[in-house]
Amino acid sequence: MKLAVMVNEGPYTHQASDTAYNFIVAALNAGHEIFRVFFYHDGVNNGTRLTTPPQDDRHIVNRWSELSKAHDLDLVVCVAAAQRRGIVDPDEAKRNGKDSDNIAPGFRISGLGQLIEAGIQADRLLVFGD
């Protein structure tokens, strides 16, 4: 089955992104296709490479980046939600006159159309959040 996933909560504060991650791993292992993972609301905070959790805890951001690399996952951060929360890629940093970017490897910033398209293209859209 072709699946799309929406993640609506930030890492560590809320278990939603852990649950989404575990679901995706299980779905891939079961042979399903992940069309796209879309990060919205505080979910965009899953995509900053500046995250530095304590060493004895899971590294949620790196875990997403590694999963993306291993399975060629399309990890999309909503641009409007990202701008509110200070998640920027090099292009956005330049466009908005910021002194740096912080997007994590494997993530890209794009618009809400990517979420709607995922809803249309995928057999199921799964939403993880409150």
Binding site: A80, L112, G113, E117, I120, V127
Partner: protein
Amino acid sequence: MSETKKFMYINRRPPYGTVYPLEGLEVVLIGAAFEQEVCMVFISDGVFQLRQGQDTIDSGMKNFSPTYRALGDYEVTRLYVERESLEERGLTEADLMPLTWEDEDDDWAEKPSIQIVSRAQLSDLLEEQDVVFNF
């Protein structure tokens, strides 16, 4: 894109206090460009999103309630409000913004966008959907 799906946007939180309703509305407006079969649902404290006369000056929050009036222009013409949720909060339809849309198939007649429906009716509507977002 030839395929048309049924999209439902469920709103269940009060308009201010969290950013979910504002960002949820942004999804609806962007989604309107994709020409899918769209409806919005307002349940629980979400019914307060459509309350008339919202004033956010003292709280410093952005009053985005005028945006709901634009939904008709985006061809988002079906806003279902749950009757039980209104009643539980002491509200009636008269407390809500009078939202309308213009029906181009009926000589641009102005028609109400808000439909008051029962919890049971909503349950049936939900059953028909392909894609459900909730904010």
